[in-house]
C-alpha cells in the first residue's frame, strides 16, 4: 500500500459529508398504506364478485416475486461476505439487508394461499395418484411454511450479526487480510445454501406443481437465480436513485460503486440466460411431450409467446447489450433504467411461469391484478423504510471504501 493511496483516503475521510438521517419516512409510509388498502379492496372485490381465480393468481405471482426480491437481497449481502467484498464499505451490506422485513410479511402471506388452494393447485381438485405422497395439502403447507420460516429466521440472525459493530468494522477495514468475524463465517454460507434449498422447494411446490405432470430438475436453480438477479437489479436501482437524493458527497457518487453494481447486473443476467438455455436445450433434445408442452404453450403459442419474448429482451438482451460498456454501467440514469426494466422483466417472467398453467387461452390482466400488485408493492415499500434510512446513514458517513482504482 503506497503512502499516496493512503493520503487519498485521508483526504476523503476528512471532507466528511453531512450524515443524512432519513430518506424514507412518513410520506413513503402513507403512500405505502394507501397502496395496500387499494390492493386489499381489489382483492376482496374480486373474491366476492366471482373472479376469485384471477385474484389468487395475482396473489401467487406477487408473493413469489416480492419474496424472491427481498430474500435475494439478503443473500446478496451474504455473498458479499463470502467474496469478502469491500468495494462499497458497509453501505452495500446495509443495502442488501434493507428489504428484509418483507420476509416475515411474505411468510404470513404464504398461509393465505391455503384459502385459495382449490383455485391455485390443480392437484387439489384432481389428485395425481402417483404423486399424492408429495403433492397433498397438509404436507405441502407444512414443509413450505417450515422452510420459509427457517429461511427468514436464518436471514434475521445473519442481519443481526452483520449490523453489529464487529462486522461493520470489518467491512470498512482497509486491511485485506483479515477474515470476517466468526459468526458471519457461519451464518453467511448458511443463508446462501438455505436460499438454494428453500427456493428450489418453493419453485417445485408453488410453480412446478401448477402443471403437476411437468418436471425439470434444473427448474429450482433457474427460479432462485432469477430471484437473486432481481435483487441485484433492486440494489442497483436503489443505488442509482439514492445517489441523487443523499446530498453531494455520498458513497454512490463514487462511480466505482455504480460500476460494480452494473457488473453484477450484467453478469447474473448472463447467468440467467445460461440456466434458461440449459433447460431449454435438454427439453428440446429429449422432445418428450410431457416435458415440451410447458415450453410450447409459453414460447410458441399465442397469447403467451410475445410475453416470453419480452421477458427474454428485458432480462437478457437489454442488460447484455446496454451494460457491456463501462460508461453505461457508471451512468445512474442508464443503470437505473436497465435495472428497473429488469425488475419488470422478472415480474413478467414469474407471471408467465405461473399463469399459463391456470388459464391457458387468455392473458388475465386487468385492474384487479394491477391493484393487487400495487398492494404488494406498498407492503414492500413500508417494510424497507427503516432499512433504507440505515443505507442513507452509512452512505453519507464518509467511511472509506475498499479501493479507488479500477
Amino acid at each position: 500500500m503506497s503512502s499516496g493511496l493512503q493520503s487519498v483516503r485521508h483526504a476523503r475521510a476528512s471532507r466528511k459529508p453531512q450524515p443524512v438521517e432519513s430518506v424514507a419516512g412518513a410520506r413513503m409510509q402513507t403512500v405505502g398504506v394507501a397502496m395496500i388498502v387499494l390492493g386489499i379492496i381489489a382483492f376482496v372485490l374480486a373474491l366476492t364478485s366471482g373472479r376469485a381465480a384471477i385474484a389468487w393468481e395475482a396473489y401467487l405471482v406477487n408473493l413469489l416475486f416480492f419474496l424472491g426480491v427481498a430474500q435475494g437481497a439478503v443473500v446478496a449481502s451474504a455473498s458479499f461476505y463470502l467474496t469478502q467484498a469491500k468495494w462499497g464499505g458497509s453501505t452495500v451490506y446495509r443495502l442488501g439487508e434493507a428489504f428484509a422485513p418483507f420476509l416475515w410479511v411474505g411468510f404470513f402471506l404464504f398461509f393465505g394461499l391455503y384459502f385459495g388452494r382449490t383455485l391455485i393447485f390443480p392437484w387439489v381438485t384432481h389428485p395425481i395418484a402417483q404423486k399424492a405422497a408429495w403433492l397433498n395439502v397438509p404436507f405441502l403447507f407444512t414443509r413450505d411454511a417450515f422452510a420459509l420460516g427457517v429461511m427468514a429466521a436464518a436471514s434475521f440472525a445473519f442481519i443481526r450479526v452483520s449490523r453489529g459493530e464487529e462486522a461493520r468494522a470489518w467491512t470498512i477495514a482497509t486491511d485485506d487480510i483479515q477474515l470476517p468475524p466468526h459468526s458471519i463465517r457461519v451464518l453467511a454460507p448458511l443463508v446462501a445454501i438455505l436460499f438454494a434449498v428453500v427456493y428450489t422447494l418453493i419453485a417445485f411446490d408453488l410453480v412446478m406443481s401448477l402443471a403437476p405432470v411437468w418436471r425439470s430438475t434444473l427448474f429450482g436453480w433457474y427460479f432462485f437465480a432469477g430471484a437473486f438477479w432481481s435483487a441485484l437489479c433492486l440494489l442497483a436501482l436503489t443505488a442509482a436513485v439514492l445517489r441523487g437524493r443523499l446530498g453531494e458527497d455520498n458513497l454512490f457518487t463514487n462511480p466505482v460503486v455504480l460500476h460494480d453494481c452494473g457488473k453484477m447486473v450484467f453478469a447474473f443476467s448472463v447467468f440467467w440466460i445460461y440456466l434458461m438455455f440449459a433447460q431449454y436445450i435438454v427439453i428440446w433434445y429429449g422432445d418428450l411431450p410431457v416435458e415440451t408442452f410447458f415450453i410450447v404453450q409459453r414460447v410458441h403459442h399465442m397469447p403467451w409467446s410475445p410475453l416470453s419474448v419480452a421477458c427474454l429482451v428485458l432480462i437478457w438482451v437489454i442488460p447484455f447489450v446496454v451494460l457491456m460498456s463501462v460508461r453505461t454501467k457508471k451512468s445512474p440514469i442508464i443503470l437505473g433504467t436497465v435495472s428497473a426494466l429488469g425488475l419488470v422483466g422478472i415480474w413478467l417472467e414469474r407471471y408467465v411461469l405461473v399463469v399459463p398453467s391456470l388459464s391457458l387461452d387468455a392473458i388475465p390482466f386487468g385492474p384487479t391484478q394491477f391493484l393487487i400488485t400495487i398492494g404488494f408493492l406498498g407492503a414492500f415499500l413500508i417494510c424497507s423504510v427503516p432499512g433504507l434510512n440505515r443505507v442513507a446513514q452509512a452512505a453519507t458517513s464518509g467511511e472509506p471504501v475498499g479501493d479507488d482504482e479500477e
Binding site: S2, S3, G4, L5, I281, W284
Partner: protein, 173 residues
C-alpha cells in the same frame, strides 16, 4: 543538433505517475516509462486510450461464430439426417457449437494479439532500460533535443526523481 535521452528513476509509483503528468502538462510526448509492477496509476497518468486488442478479440469471436455456423450447417447438409422429426437446420444445438468456437477463437486471437501488440518476445532491451526498473524502481526515459534537456532534467528532479542521467542517443545507434 543531437538527440538526448534523459533517464530518471523513481522509488515510488506515485512520484513516477506525478512526473508523467508533469511531462504531459509540459507538452512532452516522446517518452517511455518502465515499471516493475503492472500499475493502473501510471497507465492513468499516461492517459493511454484503451488497447486495440479488443478489436482483435472481436474479430476472433466473429470468425469463431462463422466457423461454428459453417461446421454445423455444412455437416448437417452433408449428412442430411432426420433426427426425431425435427427441422433439418435446428438452431438450439448450433448455438452451443458457435458459442464455444467464439470463445476459443476469441481467446486465441486475444493471446496472440497481446503478444503482437506488446512486441514480445524480444531479445533487445529498450534504450535507456536499467535492470532496476525490473526490480524496485520506476523509470522514465525522455528523448529530446539538447536544448530542452536542462529544463526537463530539472522538471524530473522537482517531481521527485532519485537519479537523473543523460545519455547521448548516438551511443545506442
Amino acid at each position: 543538433m543531437s538527440r538526448i535521452a534523459i533517464i530518471s528513476s523513481f522509488a515510488e509509483e506515485v512520484q513516477c505517475a506525478h512526473a508523467i503528468e508533469e511531462l504531459r502538462a509540459a507538452q512532452v510526448t516522446d517518452f517511455k516509462s518502465f515499471s516493475p509492477i503492472p500499475s493502473h496509476r501510471i497507465e492513468h497518468a499516461i492517459g493511454r486510450t484503451k488497447s486495440p486488442v479488443r478489436w482483435i478479440v472481436l474479430a476472433g469471436g466473429i470468425s469463431g461464430v462463422l466457423t461454428g455456423l459453417a461446421i454445423t450447417i455444412g455437416t448437417t447438409y452433408e449428412w442430411n439426417l432426420n433426427a426425431g422429426g425435427k427441422p433439418l437446420l435446428s438452431w438450439p444445438p448450433f448455438i452451443v457449437i458457435c458459442f464455444e468456437l467464439m470463445i476459443l477463437l476469441g481467446g486465441i486471437f486475444g493471446f496472440f494479439g497481446v503478444l503482437g501488440l506488446s512486441g514480445v518476445p524480444t531479445t533487445e532491451s529498450q534504450p535507456g532500460y536499467n535492470g532496476r526498473f525490473g526490480e524496485d524502481r520506476f523509470g522514465i526515459v525522455i528523448r529530446c533535443d539538447e536544448t530542452e534537456a536542462e529544463r526537463l532534467e530539472s522538471l524530473m528532479k522537482e517531481s521527485g526523481a532519485e537519479e537523473v542521467e543523460r545519455e547521448d542517443e548516438a551511443q545506442h545507434s
